[in-house]
Symmetry: C2
Subunit: 345 residues, 2 copies
């Protein structure tokens, strides 16, 4: 018995006609049965379903979508899957869409605008019901495509900027700003920043800007800063922390642009026997629950990842079903979690 090239016999693909012939009714009736639409008697319904099942018929949505001008896909475009944040958002979207009949389709841009443009073009060419896309910064062409698409567009994660249609997210500027205020309120004064070397990660940039603004309002500025790229975040957090403290030993606080490098820093500090949060305070960003279980809880700020996914999905679903209006702006409030690495009053 030799293996065939594909796990199929090479008869031509099944169509409605096959099912219709097998069950002795018209194609239209089969179509009605399979979509639960229109009146069909119980008897024929069963006959059709039996025929479809026994043939192994799978409807062709390409033809269906073309004929009905309706597509149940929602394009979801994110910069990365390794960021830890985005899988959570996607999960939220996925779950929420599950019972709406809508189907998310994910695309990844690797933080590259050209790539974003290409992915968007590709996805729009499937005429989705809506678009959920991370960030407010897009190429001119990408913005134009979205404006012209005539479908709900939801930009997520970030609200600092001008939206195309709807937005769901948090203000990263404010997140940084609030964290600065909290840190200053706790009495820290000589502060270092550790982040990623990603000019195109606008949200990280805005957090830092908000943070610096917060310091500036107290007449302070960052004493030191360090950026990394690539590699394991936890390990990089260690290295950068070691390097920075070697260079600027009198810092009393380190603000990390994400929890993973923060956790690396925390582990390193604990090993060095540094008094955290007494002599040195630490804070990260994201509230990744993955990290619950560290020896000490890192101060952080919840980025409302699931909630963002859910709300964005609901917006798209609502607009497509009920014909709601769009142009909505939902700013979520990230809650600060002081953890064990900022000293309490």
């Amino acid at each position: 018995m030799s293996t065939p090239p594909f796990p199929t016999d090479n008869r031509r693909p099944l169509t409605l006609r096959d099912v219709s012939e097998a069950s002795g009714v018209s194609e239209m009736t089969v179509s009605r049965v399979l979509r639960n639409r229109g009146d069909v008697s119980e008897a024929t319904r069963e006959r059709v379903l039996a025929a479809a099942k026994s043939l192994g018929y799978v409807p062709n949505k390409i033809a269906g979508a073309l004929a009905s001008q309706r597509v149940n896909l929602v394009a979801v475009i994110v910069p990365s899957l390794s960021n830890l944040v985005f899988p959570d958002v996607l999960t939220g979207i996925s779950r929420t869409l599950e019972d709406t009949g809508l189907q998310p389709v994910f695309g990844v841009t690797n933080y590259r605008p050209e790539r974003e443009e290409a992915v968007l073009y590709e996805m729009l060419s499937w005429r989705p019901t809506g678009v959920i896309i991370a960030g407010l910064e897009h190429s001119e062409a990408a913005r134009a495509m979205m404006m012209n698409a005539g479908i709900p567009i939801v930009e997520i994660m970030d609200v600092d900027g001008e939206a195309i249609d709807s937005v769901v997210g948090i203000s990263h500027f404010r997140a940084g700003h609030e964290m600065a205020k909290a840190i200053l309120a706790a009495g820290y004064r000589r502060i270092g920043f550790l982040g990623t070397k990603m000019p195109l990660d606008h949200r990280a940039r805005k957090r830092m800007e908000g943070f610096e603004r917060g310091l500036a309002e107290a007449g302070l500025k960052l004493e030191d800063r360090e950026f990394y790229e690539g590699g394991s975040a936890l390990a990089k957090g260690r290295e950068m922390t070691a390097a920075m403290l070697a260079r600027s030993p009198d810092l009393d606080f380190l603000y990390y642009s994400n929890d993973m490098i923060g956790a690396g820093g925390l582990l390193w500090c604990l090993e060095q026997g540094i008094d955290v949060p007494g002599r040195l305070g630490l804070a990260g960003f994201n509230g990744v629950d993955l990290l619950e279980g560290l020896p000490r809880r890192l101060a952080t700020m919840d980025a409302c990842r699931h909630e963002i996914g859910r709300r964005a999905a609901k917006l798209v679903a609502g607009q497509s079903e009920a014909g709601l209006v769009g142009g909505e702006r939902i700013e979520l409030e990230p809650t600060i979690d002081m953890g064990d690495t900022i000293r309490r009053p």
Copy 2:
């Protein structure tokens, strides 16, 4: 200026006809230009492109796919995005497909067979070029659908079982088995297992079976075992480790079904001042590089996540382009990493 319901003027969607009228050539010629297919003079090509751009025309792939019977989508179906493993696989797939003209479409099943069936049905109804799906265990209906689809099917992650078409993965049974041998070779004898309470995570189950087989071959069996569900893996690792060692204080090795709970266990042991790996050895599974940077490197086994993604994507791309045969079986060799938590000879 009031906000319109959608970010578009409400003219009807653009078609080839609009571009053809704007540029004064036939729809067919426009189609040729936009697809770079067939001979078109440089002059008209430019004219058409200009018209398309100025109108903001985005081709309708639904119609295109129906007419050409070709779809550039690859369905990718995984059980979860929070598992840490799958985002890596997806990244590998995504990257590899980037320069093939193929586009991955992701679906998530939450480890539920009914859900897998539904997602698969939905995806097949878009007539993708190929399917990449995690695992070898599927419902009868799902198997039947894939057998009948007439397209390359690549089952990934796992090779222990009967494949529908092609497989790319590792033997989780062997992974568990090898780890058992390595542990025994290092002289450990009283061994506990800590895992997840997921009867439907077949790969975790197979690792455990392989592991127990390895012990059995040395006349040993698991002294204790503990399972968890939900919550932060790191925290659960701590809790379970504490509980198990309280219950079975004379264990000399703990095998964790994944690195995250292993890391939690490791942190707990270090805090307790337990001599690792002298008095107690630890090992996990996955080789998540996220965890590089822990105080001590947890022994683990690389699951070849990126490589699996890449190879699977290449298989699909190869079969669709070059008409290769399929039915391929690629078993990758997970490498064991002894880390710092298994004592060396």
